[in-house]
């Protein structure tokens, strides 16, 4: 409770939570908020300016941009959650193995992780796409793998640090099993940096996947994904700039929300950057 109070006294973090709430509500109630189905085309009404009927206008196929953005929030939640599940879990597992058992295993794992860390996520993702192929699923898998190294690193140093506490020695003396010590004592106490990283990973996943969608390597251009929507808009920058504005704002606000919350959590939980 004390923690929540401190977090809520951080104005920027509250702003972040506000943006995230809008984003989550939009994705949860998409069918209720959207004015029509995004796949519905109206070829007599393409590239229309914002109006009462189409709040943010229509795109080059006459699809309603506002509805696309609302449904796009769903896609983004799916992206963020899947990347966190895959990348976060695998990264955490590697970090635990390396940090808890140390020794040779740690050395080998960290060598690999360091090698991967040397490359920017978008390049790692593109490398994976070269193997898996393009598309949203491929992009999610690719970005998940690209987030593994940072998670592994953070979890490892968190485990290493928490392990040195005296209560851990006490548990050992009491004869508790490794598993119990790890999951009951070390992980809960070393959770703070992992939570901060998870928040930032969520926004990074959305950012990279929208980038891949923009490049035509991610989501199908026909689907409601913010990056893909911007990719279509590129051809009309000169004549109809409005179709490039709204999807970009949607990405920026969502990412900003998670970044502000992440910064706030970092300060509140007193996490040093790794």
């Amino acid at each position: 409770m004390k923690f929540l109070k401190r977090l809520l006294s951080n104005k920027l973090a509250v702003l972040g939570i506000f943006f995230i709430l809008i984003f989550l509500l939009a994705s949860l109630f998409a069918p209720l908020i959207a004015t029509q189905d995004y796949s519905e085309m109206d070829l007599y009404n393409v590239l229309a300016l914002p109006s009462a009927e189409h709040l943010m206008g229509t795109d080059e196929m006459g699809r309603d941009i506002f509805s696309g953005i609302i449904y796009g929030a769903r896609t983004s939640v799916l992206i963020g959650v899947s990347v966190l599940l895959f990348g976060g879990l695998v990264g955490t597992a590697i970090g635990i193995l390396a940090g808890f058992f140390e020794g040779k295993l740690d050395m080998v794992l960290m060598r690999i992780i360091d090698t991967l860390m040397a490359f920017p996520s978008i390049l790692l993702a593109m490398f994976m796409i070269a193997i898996i192929g393009t598309g949203l699923k491929g992009a999610i898998v690719a970005v998940s793998i690209a987030t593994v190294p940072r998670f592994a690193r953070i979890v490892r140093s968190s485990v290493l640090k928490t392990k040195k506490n005296e209560y851990v020695d006490a548990c050992r003396v009491l004869g508790q099993s490794n598993m119990k010590i790890l999951f009951r004592h070390i992980l809960p106490n070393g959770m703070a940096p992992i939570i901060v990283q998870a928040t930032l990973t969520f926004s990074e996943a959305i950012l990279i996947i929208s980038g891949l969608g923009f490049l035509g390597l991610g989501a199908d251009p026909m689907s409601a994904e913010w990056g893909a929507m911007l990719s279509n808009a590129r051809a009309y920058l000169m004549t109809k700039p409005h179709i490039a504005i709204f999807p970009g704002i949607a990405i920026a606000i969502t990412v900003l929300g998670f970044n502000l919350l992440g910064d706030g959590l970092r300060d509140t939980l007193d996490v040093k950057e790794y």
């Binding site: 920017p120 923009f214 390597l217």
Partner: protein
């Protein structure tokens, strides 16, 4: 010196490992590599010819040695899309990307240091607030969207800069801002926090107490000590910048390595994909090595490492 040698050795190992992984791309994708090289719709006979011609019937180790040996001699193979040797195109694209990234890093470092130092010195002031706002926005905006906005405002509305190409120096301005935006934001935040940290150290208080003038204190004491994390950040950013080049080059239809990689990915032109990923990877490793060595020079504590 021992430290630098150690870093060099580990950099070489990374390059070696990367080359193996990049080599494996063609063997990891579903399907027969010979079929991939022969192209879609090739007859069985053609596929077999390709297999023998490219040595795909030999053991993987031999194939790797042939491939890596070729690259060491400057032979990156032939593009499947254009049937031309990859090397000249690759060098041309790399040259363009290098220029763009270098301009981007100059922009990012220049403005990032300036904003970071000013906001640290004027901690909690209006300027501090504004630069922190710029920084968090810069981190949150997708860089391709930044590029699109710049084009909309400065090319389409104002007509000040061209929206595409790399013909004149003016045409570099918008891409430079786009590619450098994110790094600038990160460098600003890093600089601000490390300068703030140094300002609270005892030796700063002593320096001020000694009666040193404001500017000397900042330049000589604060910056020198705040420089280590900043240099690390800058080095990392240069690598990330070249990754971000992909997006910037797409927005501005700029003929660089990133755009080439994306085109090759969409065309499934595997030799070109391998060549560009390998080249980008080697550049990251080289940059990281340089940063690590600089770090060593800057931090006397590293002398024993």
């Amino acid at each position: 010196m021992k430290y630098v040698m150690k870093r060099l050795l580990s950099a070489l190992v990374v390059v070696f490992l990367t080359s193996i992984i990049v080599f494996c791309i063609v063997h990891l994708i579903p399907g027969d590599p010979a079929m991939v090289y022969a192209g879609a719709g090739a007859k069985q006979e053609q596929v077999e010819n390709v297999r023998i011609e490219m040595g795909l019937d030999k053991p993987l180790v031999v194939q790797y040695i042939n491939w890596a040996g070729g690259i060491l001699q400057g032979d990156f193979g032939t593009s499947l899309a254009t049937k031309q040797p990859i090397l000249p195109v690759l060098m041309d694209k790399f040259h363009n990307t290098f220029i763009l990234s270098a301009l981007g890093i100059v922009f990012a470092v220049g403005f990032g240091l300036l904003l970071g130092i000013v906001s640290a010195l004027k901690h909690n002031s209006f300027i501090d607030l504004i630069s922190m706002f710029i920084a968090i926005i810069g981190i949150s905006m997708p860089i391709f969207w930044v590029g699109m906005l710049l084009v909309m405002v400065f090319s389409v509305q104002m007509g000040w800069f061209p929206a595409t190409g790399n013909d004149t120096w003016v045409s570099y301005i918008l891409p430079t801002i786009t590619i450098g935006m994110n790094s600038m934001a990160i460098i600003t935040r890093m600089t601000r926090s490390s300068v703030l940290e140094v300002l609270n150290e005892d030796y700063m208080v002593t320096a001020v107490a000694k009666g040193l003038r404001g500017r000397t204190v900042i330049l000589v004491h604060a910056l020198k000590n705040a420089m280590i994390p900043i240099v690390t950040t800058i080095g990392m950013q240069f690598g990330y910048l070249m990754g971000g080049a992909v997006l910037t080059e797409t927005v501005f239809v700029y003929p660089g390595l990133g755009r080439y990689l994306v085109d090759s990915l969409t065309k499934r032109d595997y030799p070109a994909i391998q060549a560009s990923i390998l080249l980008l990877a080697v550049v990251f490793v080289v940059v990281n090595f340089i940063v690590d060595s600089t770090y060593y020079k800057l931090d006397p504590k590293m002398k024993d490492a």
